[in-house]
Amino acid sequence: MESASSPGPTVRLYETASQVPPAQTPVTSKAPPDSTTSVVVHPGVLDTELMTFEIVKWEWQYVQGPYLIVVWIMVASLAKILFHLSYKVTKIVPESCLLIMLGLGLGGIVLAATNKPEYQLDPNLFFLFLLPPIVLDSGYFMPSRLFFDNFGAIMMFAVIGTVWNSFTTGFALWGIKMSGLMSDKVDAGLMDFLLFGSLISAVDPVAVLAVFEEVHVNETLFIIVFGESLLNDAVTVVLYKVFNSFVEMGTINVHPVDYFKGIASFFVVSVGGTIVGLFFAFALALISRFTKRVRIIEPLFVFLLVYLAYLTAEMLSLSSILAVTFCGLCCKKYVEANISQKSRTTVKYTMKTLASIAETIIFMFLGISAVDTSKWIWDTALVLFTLLFILVFRAIGVILQAWVLNQFRIYPLDKIDQVVMSYGGLRGAVAFALVILLNGAKVKAKDYFVATTITVVFFTVIFQGLTIKPLVKWLKVKRADQHKPTINEEIHERAFDHILAAVEDIAGQSGYHHWRDKWEHFDKRYLSQLLMRKSAYRIKDDIWDVYHKLNVRDAISYVDQGGHVLSSAKMSLASMPSRTSFSENSVTNLIRENGSGVCLDLQVIDTVRSIRDREDTVMHHVLTGNLYKPRKRFHSNYSRHFISANEQERQECEVFQRNMRRRLESFKSTKHNVYPTKSKARHKRDKSQKKKNNDANDTIPNGKPRRNISWQNPAPIAVEIESEDEENDNSETEKDEGITFVARAADEVFQERTPSSNLDVCQSPCVIPPSPTCAEKELPWKGRQGDLPACVSSETTKIVPLDMQQAWNQSISSLESLASPPITEIQLQPTLAELDEFPSPGPTPLHLARFQFPDSTLTTQHNSDDESPDSIQQQELQPLVSYERPSWLGQSASSAGTRWPVQFNRASRVSLLKNLVSGSTSNLGGQSSSSQTDL
């Protein structure tokens, strides 16, 4: 339709052009006289000269191909949206059915409009472009453990089951033909029927996936049916090729040796395809190990190499489906470990999108193709008997094989499983493409076979697809319990594996667990080391992965919810900004504008207690506690080759750690109704403040009910501070040692610095107990105002949640090389290590971030170190705060008061860092400016 109208405008242009010349001669007469000669010599010039400049041109021919493809994909995708608008429909009818119906409808329209069938499902298109994404998707996301756990069953059904189905169907149809039940016009011999049997018997991965994904049977059942449908490709292809060549050679020319060749080719095709897949999987894993600097093309490599595997296998006429399946299955572990989180997401989404599009197009084109009646010749007997046979023989095959398998399985496939497996043998587009590929000259009954295949495909996809859900429900098939993985399950199941392997060893049998254990050992010792990036290998562990995933998921879901916990005490800070929200920007801007120089001047807390100052104090603490750390200036990302994810990641880290902490607190308190035990000093403080905070308690606009409001509220911010410092350490919910810091060690540094800082206001005797530098700790921002943002920033860069370290390591390495001067960190690190106040000064700067006290003895020791100045300070601070507090400010000020000691220590660290930074910057001259501008 579109193609018919397309030449229209172009033609018209030419027509006018040809008519114009006489009329135009006067116009062009001003042109150089040789224009006429040029017309003769260069006809092209004639056009341009004769036609005036065209503002627009109709270039349909030029874009036709891609345009149609895009339009088709559009239609298919829109159809999907349409289907899913109605939940009721998609709940009952599988999407594949709907798509076929749509295809039928569209095909009818196209047929009616153009009077010739268009847009058939072209086998080449199908095998080269539509099938690979689907197979890749299923191979890559195949649960490998489950797959190999059931490998025996899958192989059995894929190989023996398919051979069984082909031969029985072929022979039985031939028998029907011999008995005369079939029309004489079906001109086919035994070989033709065997050929037909081979293509019609293969369970189709696309159809199975489309239906079973919506049914949610238990995973064992699913993996067996689905694995079978993937792996039987090798068998189908071999049988198809063998019989096809036999038919084309003519039955008389087939020698017995050819049968053996056929059997040999099965092994070559399947093993060869697998080897091709493994080879490319290895190459892909190896390549992904070295993409550290060019993250942006990581996802591309995945698709390139897998597609290469597919094409290579096709080129060598090996099983391409097997190649892609095994390539995806085997490379995943290493590739996922090597590539960045972003790339992982990209790979996942791209793969799913491609597979989904391909699937949609396949089903739609199946529908459209069916409309083309010119290729059909219907024979009722053939169709009916084919349907009967594929159902019956599949059922018989499944029962026989299940019986054999059950001799070896720990948990047998019961009757219900067998019914679902028999019924789930859906045929699909592979069969259709294969039957279209038949050579009509050699296979005389091709048209009959086409009609039968289409009917069978439609019947299985539509009828069985529609009924399998009710059947599953009716038979009460064990469904997949879709629950989120828990860290407990991961750990304990790992333990189970080790136990089983050990028990097999003790019992002296080399069973499955024995070999799996051996393989894992080998993998860990050699393969992973070879194929994984060192940084990835170091932290690669399944348990760790699950933990990481759980945490990230929790954090993201929490942040997405908006994190309302924050807005305590009626702070009008808006809620915790979700990742995309605007408020975050505005508030950080506020800080940046405000704070680059003066940074919320709070020096006068202890001397002149004006309301404004107190407000500022509160504000400052709230901001430092709750906001993202001041960040480096936004880098505008115009580079095509690098995505500097660091800003975002760092923010997510902060959000994450803070939220995790808070969430766990509230989770724990609501769950157990147990107040976490706390250090004495804190407890005292709380008691003294409980009274003051009564009214605030009621006003927590927090979504979740908190039963322990009484302590939660006075220290809502303190909790946040801890969370910053402890890096989402869940354990520390019980104790508050997280807030013991470098106070003492910092003194030494401060003393060196004291003269340079303006201490005039801070020298108030009452607040400066034992150490003269205490004021520094309290009011670090007074020290060097200009430096503060830099210091905070340098501190910020070190705060990485432990479980984000993988991503962090990856990102920081690029960051270091690009943006920030590495010298700063190198200098910071040993100094802090000397101070030895950090529990875990590790070899990398990252460890600066770990204010985590896993070891309780260590923490108590720290407590004893820090407690005394703290508590003294506390006692002296407390009255000060309460004396002059106006009642309306009471709650917020007191909450700030609680936090002071905490904040002081933190602040001291900040200033310590600041000191170090300034030291290093002074050493390095130009660097201070760079760190400044970075903010």
Partner: protein, 195 residues
Amino acid sequence: MGSRASTLLRDEEIEEIKKETGFSHSQITRLYSRFTSLDKGENGTLSREDFQRIPELAINPLGDRIINAFFSDGEDQVNFRAFMRTLAHFRPIEDNEKGKDPSSSEPLNSRNNKLLFAFRLYDLDKDDKISREELLQVLRMMVGVNISDEQLGSIADRTIQEADQDGDSAISFPEFVKVLEKVDVEQKMSIRFLH
């Protein structure tokens, strides 16, 4: 059973073991030959050293814990009867056992007993609780040296927090059962013993 150096197994003993553990006759004789081949001291019992001689067990991260599970308190020898009792935990639950009358004692390979076996691997001090320390030890064995103590610690904390219901910061057996209620323990803690 005592220390019987004989390599022969009396029929009545086989019957008793059969009754107790549910193993078949051929399985018992097969495992008995394995037992005697492990028994280097030829005194009818296995010592820890006998177990440790199994090469694969040496590389199994939980090998020592599993060996310990064979020995009851304070004993350093295990006889065939006890050996079989321990192995019986890993026998798959058969169909005819599911419908057994509840009055009879719980078979060794019940879900509960399987879980209890795993639980005791963690619970070193036998206080019927997996403490954070105990969990950390097992974790350390399983994940190797690549993951730092802090990271492991946070995993352990999360694990306990996830499972802990009564707020004692430890996992008791009921809590252990509860967190694994969705896991197909029957399948994941069973192996097929050769006949």
